[in-house]
Subunit: 336 residues, 2 copies
């Protein structure tokens, strides 16, 4: 039921290093009213994703930071409560970057209608949403996998990594995942069909990569950085592709990390290393979503959700990205 | 005049860290005799290039190392003394990777006829040879410059860097060079038409780049690595391209250097970083050479040579790459 209060989680302090729950504050605002051309949307699901750390920090080469006192950005699924836009009707489900709040007023260009017949509603934030498209388009457009290639993905049990490995398998590649627990790795190999999975918290990553990738690494899908990355670059095969999609190990650092130089690895292998930002690929979303939905319907893509109840618990859940304690797509249920 | 002695410089010891003159030995061998299908070539010019350091080291991701006791590899121009191959006549000039020796016997596929009307013979090892093609193809095929782009090149007064900047100008870009002396920088701006030149040995490279590249760096042509690279990556513009063509600051290191991570710079800018090895671009040589020769004839490309006399002086000259003491294309005149 709609109320006349809009709970919002706003940025109270800019994180310096690791974010803390006190960097976020819950405030109550009045229910916003849509004007002509706008819709009022009630949030059902929030998507939590590592890139959001970058939006609340100060990174001059990235997007402008969320201002202090503003609602925290993030993707969400909601339902239209009131429409003053011809393209949307009351009851429609929409996806929008409406942020951490109960309600949002949006222009028509800010919302995308979700087809609830493609899968459970929450999949529009996961396998059929930004993480799935990131995995598919990053792998296909930047990673350019060829049948027989060995594809290595870090944060492999996460919302993006799990799809990367499964799409790699569909593309005829060998998929090798790197994740942080035996439970996650068993899931990757036994449930998702990865050829091998490596626990980066135990043992020698390099030796494990040597065993899992005897012919070298043709595609590396980078979500993590740090020690994992240092182990991968010396094992790149000739003309390897690296998709730099994320670097969650780096996001809380106060200054750039010192790491082993990858210059000679890139030079010697003629690797192609490409930064990937899903928001630059809007023209490819429809194609990507159609393919992902097809594979999902055929049972060729599986996904796992990690659901947290209640808007007020979003900040605490978000912090779990930085200690490796997420497993599957992290979602906050704001309303039923 | 041909003699019956073939002086050869062979690899006596594998360099561990900085190469030394004692890593090389001059030995005298018998004049080789061509068999059917072969030619005997007398070396006139040797090309010295930084990549040769990689060939005498042990780099598992690169080419196999030159074995101890073998003639040191390297490009050369020579004249055919005797031909038992239908494609070559006595007196023809040829380019080949025949190495540091007075004479070589080559199969037809190992030699390329040089057209001496395109420019002085030595240009076939410089602006019309491997360095020129490296500059042209690396910049165009991997750097993909667009008119108005700011192109930054390190080792800018070297055989490759000087051509990179001049081709960038021809392509309608701003060219910014990084080199190691005021004399070199004056040459870049006053003689070659670079828009700005930065001395990496004095002052703050980052601040100088900020002044020279107020809109960021669209293309970085990497020849050096190390501190220069660390200053460039945070200044890349959106969708920048980095041509990883060399890393002369790294070649003598016993283990990979630690450096500031470039992961977030690549991620935030969606940069495309590509390793470039000229030997993979053979199909593009004719096109590249034709364009370079045209610009040379039109006076739009200038070049500078740094000539050392005598085969026996090749090792000492080669060591100059690693203290920044070369200026222009480094050549050894072996015979007149």
């Amino acid at each position: 039921m709609a109320t006349d209060v809009n709970r919002q989680i706003v940025l109270a302090a800019r994180p310096d290093g690791n974010p803390k729950e006190t960097d976020f504050t819950l405030r109550e605002a009045a229910l916003p009213e849509p004007r002509a051309g706008q819709i009022l949307v009630r949030t059902i699901w929030l998507s939590l994703d590592p890139y959001m750390r970058l939006r609340i920090g100060n990174n001059e080469q990235y997007y402008p930071a969320v201002p202090l006192g503003d609602v925290v950005v993030g993707g969400a699924i909601g339902q239209v409560m009131e429409s003053r836009h011809g393209g949307f009707a009351e009851g429609d489900y929409v996806e929008a970057y409406s942020g951490w709040q109960d309600y949002a007023v949006l222009g028509g260009g800010e919302a995308r209608k979700v087809d609830p017949t493609l899968g459970p509603l929450s999949t529009a934030l996961g396998v059929l949403g930004m993480p799935g498209l990131t995995a598919y388009l990053g792998l296909i457009d930047v990673g350019r996998p060829e049948p027989g290639d060995t594809v290595v993905v870090s944060a492999a049990s996460g919302a993006v990594g799990a799809i990367v490995g499964q799409v790699a398998k569909i593309a005829g590649c060998r998929a090798v995942g790197i994740a942080g627990s035996e439970t996650k790795n068993a899931y990757l190999t036994d449930e998702l069909g990865f050829n091998a999975a490596i626990n980066y918290k135990t043992g020698d990553i390099g030796a494990a990569l040597d065993r899992a990738c005897p012919d070298g690494i043709n595609v590396y899908f980078e979500n993590v950085g740090g020690a994992v990355s240092e182990a991968v670059y010396p094992r790149l095969a000739a003309r390897a592709r690296v998709v730099v999609c994320g670097g969650v190990s780096q996001y809380n650092l106060k200054s750039p990390q010192t790491t082993l130089s990858n210059l000679q690895n890139i030079l010697f292998t003629e690797a192609q290393v490409g930064g990937f930002n899903i928001f630059s690929y809007a023209a490819r979303y429809d194609d990507g979503r159609k393919r992902l939905a097809g594979w999902l319907a055929e049972g060729r893509l599986k996904y796992k959700e990690d659901v947290v109840e209640g808007l007020e618990n979003a900040p605490g859940a978000f912090l779990r990205f930085f200690d490796g304690e997420t497993f599957g797509k992290l979602l906050v249920r704001v309303a039923q």
